[in-house]
Structures are given as structure tokens and as C-alpha cells.
Amino acid sequence: MISLYRPGDSALHRLPAGPKLLIVMALALALSLAPADPWLLAPAVAGVAGAYLLAGLGPRDLGQEAWRLRWIVLVLAVGQIFFLPWQTVAANAGRVVVVILLANLVTLTTRTERLVDAIERALTPLRRLGVNPGRVALMLSMTITTIPVIAGYATQIREAQRARGVPLAPLAFVVPLLIMTLKHADDLADALTARGVD
């Protein structure tokens, strides 16, 4: 599984995952709730660009990240241009880009495992409500290993149908996929039980 993480050793990389996620998400949320005002947007852009530099990600990386948002921006602008003056549309689009770039900074500078661990720790207080953090962690790692298995089933079914000359039909594809997948789930359950995971 290819994560969106970019290895590095900056101050941002070294920040513990939990607090980093909390702080950055809170900032991003505050920014997206603030009015789309150019006077507020300019320092936000500067701040985010500065944070990328601090994380060891140069203008190239920042540009690359922004370029990934091109469809969101295009579609957002097309949707709004009928309703709002273009200055407002530009400010709104700019704000969305800045907010997403800011939040993605967490993803770019934190290993997936670290974030999973942080999320698991955050779940500990939910133990009272019957949520078992250890079990959640098990499910998260099992899902990561199961995705390629199911993607493999999908390829298998597609190839089998192509071999028989069946035209690509979504229904004829999903039902066998689900049955194979759910059988796999039962096998997994048996394997877990056999290993003493209750």
C-alpha cells in the first residue's frame, strides 16, 4: 500500500502524530470557518508555504500538492460562477486550497502507522462505551492486508468473465465479488479463532 507520506527529518516530522493531527486539523477548521477574505487569505497562504518549507518540502512539492487539487478547484469554480461574483469565487477556491494543503501537511509528514497508533490511543476513553481499542487496531491492520486480496478477487472475476465473453456488467461482477469476499471473511474468522483471538 503506497502511503501519501514523504520521509524526512524536519521539526514537523518529529512532532508526535496525535497533537500534530489535532493542531493542524483545528487550524484548518478555523480557517475554513473564517470568511473568505483576501486579507486573511494572504497571510494563510504565506503561513502554509512557510510550513511546507519547514517540513523540507520545497516549492516543487507544494506545487505538486496544489496541482492534485485542480479538479476540485475547477469544479468548485464552475459550480459557483453562476451564483457569485468572480472575486468571491476566487477567494472561496483559494481558501479551500489553502485549507486542504494545510491539512495534508499532517499526512505528508507522518507515517501511516504513527497516525493509526495515535487514533488508537484517542479511542481509549471510548472503552467505557464498549469500544476495544486493541480490536480496532487489529481491524485497521487487517483491512490494510485484505484490500489487495479483494482487489485480486476483482481481477480474477473480471478475467473469468472476459474469458467467457461476458460483457462487463457491474451486477454480474459485484455479486460474485461479495460472495468470495464474505467467504474470505469467514476463513479469516476461523483463522483468528484458531489462534485464540476471541
Binding site: 501519501l4 451564483f83 485549507v99 493509526v116 484490500i147 459485484v174 479469516l188 474468522a189
Partner: protein, 193 residues
């Protein structure tokens, strides 16, 4: 019916896991960004199926597991998107809406552990998979993009045909699965005489 999280057994755990993975796999063929800042995706089909097949709590749990992996930085959303950014972007509300959507789908389709019947499945997939998801997604999108709620709803209407098609597909698939592999629907279903 008691399928609350504290009652999840090993079989529930692995079913939740494989459905989280199914939602991810349904995002692989790629999204067609069209009509609004939220790309069209087969993943909502996965959300409807999770609720219909697993029931309310387990269905919602599968969506939560999937979204936690997205938040942790895996590019599992259609079009290879992922990371913390999508949870503050225009489609954030739709993603959170999936959790409640799957729950409501499960509530309606499996009304008190009953086996699925086609009309309740169709109703559940529509109310949960479309109604609930839009009811949470549109206000959040309006907040993020700065376009008023009414206008955002108009632009979101572009997704309605696709989502209706997915409702129909989810209903047909659920009923076909019920005939082909009733075990999928969980530990002994109480069939009412």
C-alpha cells in the same frame, strides 16, 4: 437485535474488515470528477451494501474503519485521494455522512434482524445512502466552499441520477446476495413465521 459494538464477535470483526476493504476496492477504477467538487464514485455503493448486508452497527463500523485509514494517509478514496485534507475539503461532510448513511441503511433494511425484502432494501438504500448522506454533505460543503446551502443543493443535484442508479444497483445486489449466500447476512437471522 443486539449487534452493538460491544457484542462484536470474531465473525463480525472479519465481516467489518472485508467490507471496509470492499469500499476501498470499489474506489480503484477511478472517479470521474463531474458536476460538483465531489467526484462520482462507486464507493457510495459500497457504503449502501455495508449497511444492507452487515446491518446498522457493523455497517457503520466498516465505514469508520475505512475512513480512519483514509485519515491516516492511505489514498483509498476514488481517484487516489486520501489524507487529512479530504476531511476539511468540500466532500468532508459526504464522507462523515457515509457513517450515518450506512447506519440508517442497516436500520431500515434489517429492521429488527429481519431478512431483507426488496422494497425495504430500496427504501433503506435511498433514505440512508442518499438522503442522510446529502443531508450531512450539502451543509458542510456549503460551509467549506462558501456557496449558500440552497445553491450547493442545486449543484449537488447533478449527482442524484448516479446515486439513484446506485440505489437500484445496491437493491438488486443485496437481494441477489440474499438468495445466493444468506449466510452473508450474519449470525442466525430470526426468520419470522
Amino acid at each position: 437485535m443486539d449487534d452493538r459494538p460491544s457484542r462484536f464477535d470474531t465473525r463480525d470483526v472479519t465481516r467489518i474488515v472485508v467490507f471496509a476493504a470492499i469500499i476501498a476496492v470499489l474506489g480503484i477504477p477511478g472517479a470521474i470528477p463531474i458536476g460538483g467538487p465531489v467526484p462520482i464514485t462507486a464507493q457510495t455503493l459500497g457504503v449502501m451494501l455495508a449497511g444492507a448486508v452487515l446491518g446498522a452497527w457493523r455497517g457503520a463500523a466498516a465505514v469508520v474503519i475505512f475512513l480512519v485509514l483514509v485519515l491516516a494517509g492511505l489514498p483509498l478514496l476514488s481517484g487516489g485521494r486520501g489524507g487529512a485534507g479530504v476531511f476539511v475539503g468540500p466532500s468532508a461532510g459526504f464522507l462523515i455522512g457515509w457513517i450515518f448513511g450506512a447506519f440508517v441503511v442497516g436500520l431500515i433494511v434489517r429492521l429488527g434482524s429481519r431478512p431483507p425484502v426488496w422494497w425495504r432494501t430500496a427504501l433503506g438504500c435511498f433514505v440512508g445512502g442518499v438522503g442522510v448522506v446529502y443531508a450531512i454533505g450539502i451543509p458542510v460543503q456549503s460551509m467549506v466552499t462558501g456557496l449558500p446551502v440552497g445553491e450547493t443543493a442545486v449543484t449537488s443535484a447533478a449527482f442524484l441520477p448516479g446515486d439513484l442508479l446506485k440505489t437500484v444497483a445496491a437493491t438488486i445486489i443485496t437481494m441477489a446476495l440474499w438468495r445466493a449466500y444468506p449466510r452473508a447476512f450474519g449470525n442466525p437471522i430470526r426468520v419470522r413465521a
